[in-house]
Amino acid sequence: MKSNTSLGKDDVVKLSEGSGGKEMNELISMIKTYLNQGSWMCTNDDSSFLPLKNKKQNNLVFTSDSYVVTPIFFPGGDIGKIAFCGTVNDLSVMGAKPLGLSLSLIIEEGFPKRYLLKIISSIGELSEKTGIPVVTGDTKVMEKGSVDKIIINTSGVGLAEFVLNRPIREGDKIIVSGSIGEHGAALLAQRFDLESEITSDSKPLFNEVSSVSTLIRQAKDITRGGLAAVLNEVSQKEKKQLLIFEEDIPIRKEVKALTEILGIDPLLLACEGRLVCFCAAKNAEKVVHNLKKFNSAASIIGEVHSGTGVVLQTLFGRRTLNMPSGQIVPRIC
């Protein structure tokens, strides 16, 4: 990847670089050298466009998300990686092949340029690796104190032959694509000064979804609110009860340790590169087999029943797994 070693501590983003003149053009062209522009055209204009050739892919899928995270750099990634993966994953789980993303940056005046370029580099690297170009964007610089360091918005378009959103049925199996909670755990470990080897799980999930899309009814990427939130969303939307077997949920030992020390629930920890999917029981083994090629921890964790809510079968009794509420705060007492 390109690196810009000439930038020092004092090279910071200035208000003038957001005000539409020469300085702004320079900043933008610096950002652009770090991004992959792929097959789209007219990227120097007000919009970019892409001629469509494949008539079979007749659903246009569109999504948008804004990203803030503290700290902006963390073990296994940074805000740029999350901003890229998050939008790619939102498209992927709907069965779409991502065609391109937009990238809008809202930057606090005084933000070090080397940080900015590190963030842009992460996006550029992922863009190159996945072949998904960043095709348009916007940059605003805000006065010091009016935003916290940097906010990133990415929007994305994709095309899908069919929309991956079939209703789930009783008897369906529920599958996760890997061990959960590592993104949230990596952030919390850093925030609470715990030494650990936990790294964020953030990654694009396009290949995972492609490998199972004909076998499953639907997929959701697990993000904020963790597994608990995504399961509750599906249960509410589909009006079905989801029965989850706690012991079958893959969680790394270090993540378990962190949640015990801080007195929090691993099922509430955020992921940025894991999905949960639903499939007919007869396809379940095949789905797990395909997902294991990407992450050996992929597992069946539960099944769909009639009724409402998410029920967790622990090694002992059963309880409901509610939609998370409030903030995750470590418990001392």
């Binding site: 622990t314 009794g317 059963r318 409901t320 409030g326 007492c333």
Partner: protein, 337 residues
Amino acid sequence: MLNYIQKIKELAKSLGEIKIMEVCGGHTHTIMKYGLRELLPPNIKLVSGPGCPVCVTSQHDIDCVVELALEGVKISTYGDMINVPGTKMSLKDAQARGADIKTVYSADQVINDKERVFFAVGFETTTPMTARLLQNNITVFSAHKVMPPAMRLIADNMRIDGFIDPGHVSTIIGSDAWSNLNLNVPQVISGFKPDALIRAIYLLLRMIKNNEVRVINDYPEVVFPEGNPIAKKLIRRTMKACDSEWRGLGLIPKSGLVPKDEKLDARIIYKDVFKKVKTRENPGCRCGEVIKGLIEPNECKLFRKVCTPSSPKGACMVSEYEGACAIAYKYGKSLSE
């Protein structure tokens, strides 16, 4: 494990309605998280006790610290405390109005911060850390409480057939402290894993059936007869007993701890500030009854409707680890709901 549940079911057949109190909020958490209540026969009832420091801290104490913070005194305290609603507002509301409040995960984070008043809460387990701060000349507003007098009050005034004693309080005070208290109620000191609690319930039922009244230490790997002598000595050196107001239980003689050195006691230093504090409890809130184990959280009209973890109306909705209402909210409708 299943073995013990089977044994519990057998024992329960020959017993009437039995009320067991898990004193510690950490135990309540395990019980709810693993759905243990529903594994028990219907005549064996578990009730939550006063072992959540955030919950039992009196509203007046919250109001005093809020007032102090609004007066411009810098405060530090453990995370959950800032969310407890006071009469006027919570510490978090005060923070939004510019008060300087630092939340800590561990007391040693403020050990050199002499200009801050540490709002200290907790039982015997957490008191040694505050004692360490006092040794370092940190000013403390102490809402520290000790467990045995509260247990005595409950044992003497309520029908409780057995206590699951708080495990980590026992680590500090020792199993002898409970034996010497002579509560006329069977007690088991238990660890925090679900299987440990199931075993504790079995041991209690066995004692109840045999009319045995004693203290069984079923957490001997970290609870010794004498407790932790260094920690006990440290507390004795830096703090002294005082009468203390518990939410729900009222004023209990000799149930609190304040700094021995009056120069470090915020209650004395700022007594003029506290004079103007007027406390009025939220009339709908039934935290007091929840703390005494008289009602389940869902029997309170505010529960889940206006009182939620993101907008708590009472102290029991604050600590998701120990507050009976917050735990019931999180782990849900499994009980009587």
